[in-house]
Amino acid sequence: MSKVEQYDARSCVLLRLGERRFALTAEQIAELVAPSRVFRFAHRTTELDGVILRRGRVVPVCDVAERLTGKKLTTRRFYLVATQRRGAGLDWVALPVSGECELITADLTPASESDSPHVSAWLSHDGEVIEVLNLDALMPTQEGHPPLAQSGSPEAHA
């Protein structure tokens, strides 16, 4: 997600990770699904739990709660399936969330230089100031682990 450049009313999805709420812009969200079986296989990308199957597509599961809140989720109520642009392609990623998600429209305040890289913008809702997440900063990269919060072919078809 690109950084928000100006004050802007946008549709956002609020997601709950433990005690805290975060937001993603609605255009990044593909769907909200009930937890399903996570398939785990050997790999070295520690941020990923495994993959789920969704509409025949393999979707990696990335639990961002520990990085954002310092605590692992004890319950997974849903997977919020988000899209992330990677080069020319669009990747899906399933983010486990611990509560209901909510679609809202809110004015976004751009993040400042002093904000963590995972903060794309801020919004205010129900008296709460909420971080709008920058997925690019939260997803694993080859260069290294994403920063912590302060608080094919493979042949496509054989």
Binding site: F39, F41, A42, H43, R44, T45, E47, L48, V51, L53, G56, R57, V58, V59, P60, C62, R86, G87, G89, D91, W92, V93, M139, P140, T141, Q142, G152, S153, P154, E155, A156, H157, A158
Partner: protein, 177 residues
């Protein structure tokens, strides 16, 4: 008047694969990548032991013709809990022999999905992609992913400093026995 469309779906390309087990996990490999399947018993006493602290997944080698073949422990390679291996897959056009726990079955895959880009470490070298079989996701290994060119160079250098015993030579009849 509407006519029923007579669209004919193209035949899906299929690939024969072998499902094998390392530790508790199932992997797939194209059967065309496997030259031979041997029991570890046929290796008993014949391979030369290798001790390279930086490459603990390789503990043995043997010679076949002019080539050194290196035995890669699949469980160690994938970072899994070591378990008693019973079979060795000799890979085609490769200098790798893969130590595995067992073969589950041979089957056919019709679709290989790219490993999602979020997986961004060694697994990108390990796997050609993922396939879905019986509603399970199985990683399809890349035969070239077990030993890098640098690792082969290191192992060759190690072996060249050592005299390879005659018993470490494998022929068509067996692994030097």
């Amino acid at each position: 008047m509407q006519f029923a469309t007579t669209h004919k779906a193209p035949h899906a390309r299929t690939e024969q694969i072998i499902l094998f087990r390392c530790s508790t996990q199932i992997f797939a490999i194209s059967s065309s990548s496997v030259q031979e399947v041997r029991s570890v018993d046929t290796l008993a006493g014949s391979p030369m032991e290798i001790v390279e602290p930086s490459l603990t997944k390789v503990r043995h080698m043997f010679r076949r013709g002019e080539q050194n073949l290196y035995v890669v422990n699949g469980a160690v390679h994938f970072g899994l809990r070591p378990s008693p291996a019973s079979l060795i897959l000799l890979l085609r056009r490769s200098r790798t022999a893969l130590l595995i726990d067992g073969i589950e079955k041979m089957t056919t895959m019709t679709r290989l999905q790219a490993l999602p880009a979020a997986f961004c470490h060694e697994e990108r070298v390990w796997y050609r992609g993922l396939t879905v079989l019986d509603q399970s996701v199985i990683p399809v290994v890349s035969p070239e992913g077990f030993l890098t060119a640098d690792e082969l160079f290191l192992l060759d250098a190690l072996v060249s400093r050592t005299v390879v015993p005659e018993t470490a030579t494998v022929n068509e009849m067996g692994l030097g026995l």
